[in-house]
């Protein structure tokens, strides 16, 4: 081995700043997730939902062009175009001009996103604690902030891959089916979509990372995550609809809070008995700040050298 050491060569070059380290961290986390079959299974389900909206828009557009016909054949059954249009428009709210469609899409995708994030959280962060990778990261010339930023970036990619990007595709598709003027008339919808995605990203990634750092193993993380999101939703529904308590109790349901903020951004109607945007936004901001503070405290340098 000593003979080989003759080949040790020094390296001289320029270094980038510490911020450039966040992307490699994110990239590694993404690679870990993309290797898993479970991830692709869940993503396929999410894509199914997207495809339903996608082809639904085509169907609606085609049905509208056949509006003066008496009946159209779909899968061998005769359906009146008017009924079809009505069904698609009202039930699925497939109206690309209004924000409701995108809000509904986000809400449906939400279930898949939550499941995926439970899986991702333990892989992205929990693994680092479990396998003791934290000293490896923190002993490099980066600080905790860059480390957390990298992880947040990875979570952001997952969230946006399932919600914002498909929603933008739907928006573009509707514009192509409709008129060219749609694109600049309804550009605010695009901004609303992006905004909704941003809200989801920031709040969910902070929440997920905080939960993953607190509870490091997979199964307890899934339990904690489900409690936070699914159980709280059920609880909120029970309190407000069954026990008829004040509608502000719906704020426990964090997903609902994001929904309220998102519909406000998309200028859509959030539905009956929802708290006002101000409440929802404050709750999200407070939760995000608390989680971030917890993260900064918990991911400490003292873990590096035992």
């Amino acid at each position: 081995m000593s003979a080989e050491l003759l080949h040790y060569r020094p390296w001289r070059g320029t270094f980038h700043g510490p911020l450039s380290a966040s992307w490699p961290i994110a990239r590694v986390a993404l690679k870990m997730m993309f290797r898993r079959k479970l991830f692709w299974a869940i993503y396929a389900l999410a894509l199914l939902m997207f495809l339903m909206f996608f082809f639904g828009q085509y169907l609606l557009s085609w049905a509208e062009s056949q509006a003066d016909e008496s009946g159209v054949r779909i899968f061998g059954a005769k359906v009146a175009p008017g009924d079809l249009i009505h069904g698609l428009r009202e039930v699925l709210q497939l109206n690309g001009r209004k924000g409701e469609m995108y809000a509904l899409f986000f809400r449906f995708q939400g279930y898949m996103v939550m499941v995926l994030l439970a899986l991702a959280g333990s892989m992205i962060v929990g693994n680092d604690f479990q396998y003791g990778t934290l000293p490896y990261y923190l002993s490099k010339p980066i600080s905790r902030v860059h480390y957390l930023l990298g992880k947040c970036l990875a979570v952001a990619v997952f969230i946006n891959l399932m919600t914002t990007l498909p929603a933008i595709v739907l928006w573009v598709q509707f514009g192509l089916l409709d008129t060219w003027s749609f694109f600049y008339q309804k550009a605010d919808l695009l901004l609303g979509i992006i905004g909704y995605g941003l809200v989801l990203t920031v709040s969910l990634s902070a929440l997920l990372l905080a939960a993953a750092v607190w509870v490091r193993r997979t199964v307890p993380l899934i339990m904690a995550w489900c409690t936070l999101l699914f159980f709280c939703r059920v609880l909120a529904d029970a309190l407000v609809f069954v026990l008829n308590m004040d509608w502000r109790w719906r704020l426990i349901d964090l997903w609902d809070c994001t929904y309220i903020v998102g519909t406000w951004l998309l200028q859509a109607d959030p539905g009956p008995r929802q708290p006002a945007i101000g409440w929802a936004a404050s709750i999200l901001v407070i939760v995000s700040i608390v989680c971030t503070m917890y993260l900064i405290l918990r991911v400490r340098a003292v873990e590096v050298v035992k």
């Binding site: 070059g13 270094f15 490699p24 590694v28 396998y131 990778t133 490099k140 980066i142 050298v305």
Partner: protein
């Protein structure tokens, strides 16, 4: 330029002092960091890595300053202070310092699922190297350290020896001038340990890197390091070159003698089975040794220690000539197989310094 310069560095955790008034000025070189458990070694390492701020004092590593002292407050001011500390270490303070240091952690710090080359390349990227440069360097380093065949294999499949070399590789990716190694030979078998120590010595001597070696194995420190820092209860008891700190004892010798015995038994290859502590021909041997010891005593030599098998330590009177050992040996029918000046070795130095430190504290 001074390698490490620490001035009045103290670190308190609440009331408890982990480090007390550390003042050292170390030249570049290979330094061993010794001390019993709880002496404050890990705290010192964290401060050198810029991950922890001292409560008092300041210092630099190769010119780069360590985190600024935060002061010791109690109560509300202390709580506020801990937030200040958090905010301070939040930014890039200390990260410039860490660019000059390559840290090899004691525990396995692997990213499961990556291959060896990816792991080492990631280390380079985290330090700010461009991606292609980091990847190229990773391949070069792994070849250099003998992991050429294994670099495309997943990290979970690596053996202990391979993992240790991998950890060293990831510390070297950005070619730092300083290496901070925490138990680099733990878990390695003797040949692996030998290879690692030779490697470290070469990196220190031939490539001019400064090495800080933190370990319990004094043998490693003796092989690699030319100066030591001894910590105990948070204080630096001694620091300096090993050769300077060693007590020279001109009148002390270590002797290895062996008595004459039948060759028949010794010529057999060692058989298996029926092992006890005292082989049969020891009885005959010890008689010869006893005679030799008697003769030594008669000549005024003080036998300080003797393990009964021919290894002994003696203190000779003034004017003693080494030839006399041979003469006496011939008379008693034993053969001298070795004798050396019994200067303090590192272990004795360590124990002496520690007991002096304990004495001073009382």
């Amino acid at each position: 330029m001074a390698f490490i310069h620490l001035q009045g560095v103290s670190r308190y955790f609440g009331r408890q002092a982990a480090l007390r008034d550390v003042n050292v000025d170390l030249e570049p070189g290979r330094i061993g960091l010794l001390g019993p458990n709880g002496a404050g070694k890990s705290t010192l390492l964290k401060i050198l890595l810029g991950l922890l701020a001292p409560t008092k004092g300041s210092g630099t590593v190769l010119g780069w300053p360590i985190a600024p002292a935060e002061g010791q407050d109690t109560g509300f001011a202390g709580w506020l202070g801990s937030w200040r500390e958090t905010a301070a270490t939040l930014g890039s303070a200390g990260s410039a310092l860490r660019r000059t240091i390559g840290y090899m952690p004691e525990a396995d710090s692997l990213v499961p699922g990556l291959t060896g080359a990816e792991y080492v390349a990631l280390a380079g990227e985290l330090c700010g190297m461009p991606r292609k440069h980091a990847e190229r360097r990773a391949h070069e380093l792994l070849t250099c350290l003998g992991l050429e065949d294994a670099r495309y294999r997943r990290l979970e499949e690596y053996s202990t020896g391979m993992k240790q070399r991998l950890k060293l590789a990831q510390a070297l990716t950005h070619d730092p001038p300083v290496l901070l190694l925490d138990e680099p030979t733990s878990g390695l078998d003797p040949s692996g340990r030998e290879a690692m120590l030779r490697l470290l010595l070469s990196l220190g001597k031939d490539h001019g890197k400064s090495i800080i070696l933190c370990t319990h194995l004094l043998g490693d420190v003796e092989r690699v390091c030319d100066s030591v820092v001894i910590l105990h209860h948070g204080r630096v008891l001694r620091h300096g070159g090993v050769e300077e700190l060693r007590a020279r004892r001109q009148d002390r010798y270590r002797l290895q003698v062996r008595a004459e015995t039948d060759d028949a038994a010794a010529a057999n290859l060692a058989p298996k089975g029926a092992i006890t502590n005292v082989p049969a021909d020891e009885a005959h041997r010890s008689r010869g040794l006893e005679r030799f010891k008697e003769d030594l005593r008669l000549e005024g030599v003080n036998v300080l220690a003797d393990d009964g098998r021919g290894e002994m330590r003696v203190a000779v009177p003034k004017g003693w000539v080494s030839r006399a050992f041979f003469a006496l040996a011939e008379n008693s029918g034993v053969t001298v197989r070795g004798f050396q000046h019994d200067d303090e070795d590192l272990e004795e130095l360590f124990h002496r310094v520690l007991s002096e430190g304990n004495g001073n504290e009382r």
